[in-house]
Symmetry: C2
Amino acid sequence: MEFITLGHGSGGKLSHRLISELFLKYFQNEILIKQDDMAIVPGSSMNWAISTDSFVINPIFFPGGNIGKLSVCGTVNDVAMSGGIPLYLTAAFIIEEGFPLAELERIVQSMAETAASAGVKIIAGDTKIVGKGQADGIFINTTGFGLIPEGRNISGRNAQPGDVIIVNGTLGDHGVAVMAERHGLEFSVPIFSDCAPLNEIIALLLENVPRVNVLRDPTRGGLATTLNEIAYQSNVMIELWEEKLPVKDEVFSACEILGLDPLYIANEGKFIAILPEEFADIALATIKNHPLGRDAAIIGKVVDKPKENSNNKVYLKTALGGKRILDMLAGDQLPRIC
Amino acid sequence: MEFITLGHGSGGKLSHRLISELFLKYFQNEILIKQDDMAIVPGSSMNWAISTDSFVINPIFFPGGNIGKLSVCGTVNDVAMSGGIPLYLTAAFIIEEGFPLAELERIVQSMAETAASAGVKIIAGDTKIVGKGQADGIFINTTGFGLIPEGRNISGRNAQPGDVIIVNGTLGDHGVAVMAERHGLEFSVPIFSDCAPLNEIIALLLENVPRVNVLRDPTRGGLATTLNEIAYQSNVMIELWEEKLPVKDEVFSACEILGLDPLYIANEGKFIAILPEEFADIALATIKNHPLGRDAAIIGKVVDKPKENSNNKVYLKTALGGKRILDMLAGDQLPRIC
């Protein structure tokens, strides 16, 4: 069995072997193959959407994915949430000395497969090796680029009172799957991360629906934190309907055992769309028609401008008719979830 | 004294405070301020040069710079080596729990100053916190974007027999400064890293010189490894002249003590330019006229196509008239140098 050594990060012979025998083998495309210190991407009159994310998830392999798949999905999804069409990714690895090469290959292979399925090319990369104990296995940064077709204006600042809020499926799957794997928990019904690239389903939505005001993926901090961000950016209040929130029974049970709240747990294959009520039906039908949207639901609405200086911008209408304020996540219930 | 906690990576309240009170304070610009999950950059008919790098240098503060300054210079320089004009950077931080906030602020401030001096904007970011012992202080990834003016064709594949090789100053300063700091060595003449953004001096060179075939910054692996890469890409041989290589006396002495070879040590404010001999004088004069080029020298030339299957593509003509083959770096003489 082969392991990563400090020499793999030297910039010399071992680095070149790692690039040609592993990264180029899986990531090969006409831009990356040039092997200059930078990639060259053709110009376009359209605007670019650019997003960067580092992935430090623990454990690196989990039910439904691994750090490689996640590193592609996470950044593809951030770009897609601007209405941009993701085209390119860079990938930068920080690897701990002694990391098994076979595991690195599984991760790289998974990145290549996910990138291919999302239609994006990995065009530039970097590898740094740090000593034993100076990192926890492997960290991956991806930075993504997508072109935004003219006329699209999707932003967290655009939510309007009266808009409906749609989510494309069940909440909390990713966070609970990772926590269960981390702590060696087994459930009678296994729970899988929802980790998936959302650019295809988003493209269909934007094709079929004349106006979408906000798109965002509720990752770290979960749905509640994401909606708080949007409520602040748009200066509106948001009402969620508890009985409409899609949560799998097994995730709900696991959350009760683990003391977690599905509204604050990271998702990696979910988005919320905020759009005018008149387009709610066509939007929901379009989303439900895609494999990643079967459990989609309208889960609430944008209700009003908040009272001046109020910090309470998002609330849940409970099944019993009560109201529960949903603040941003305070502290961290699940470190290293992405 | 305040320290980074896992909560700063939650995506919730503490993350938002860190962004608004630290990152936005220093990095503020019209793109970053929108605070969506992605940055939007205007389209252009010109091609983009894109480069990504993670920085894991140890120690994070060293004579002449710190990991923040380095993370801006390194990526700005990679973009500039394509003939591109660096415009934007993303910045992604992986920080160990317990890291002092005051040190993070020094690093962020230094990034902001260096970005301003290089004329680039930091347009998107990410922060991940890992537990104590799961990273070594702080790692920073930057990804850079620059526009390439029409007609520029600069690449490691373009070196031509007869071309001269110019370097803009002394070799090995960065690597030796970092090693000295790491091991607590003191020299009678202090040694400083050459860490600097090279885009301005490169812009002047490309303005004044009608044809530049190759530009590259000899970072990890040093001058010898960089020239080997170019010799392979261009399928040429390269001859270096030992007596012309600029090395500071104090760096030379330190290398003798530490058992290092200045030709294999990382530089962070140096570039080599390979260009037709007819433009050697104007190129050298232009470089020497800039503060970052005072010690510039013509250090060798591209000599010929290599013999078939020969691995020896770069050699040094010694002061005594001998020939020494300069292979790529094997193993790693200086881990975590950038």
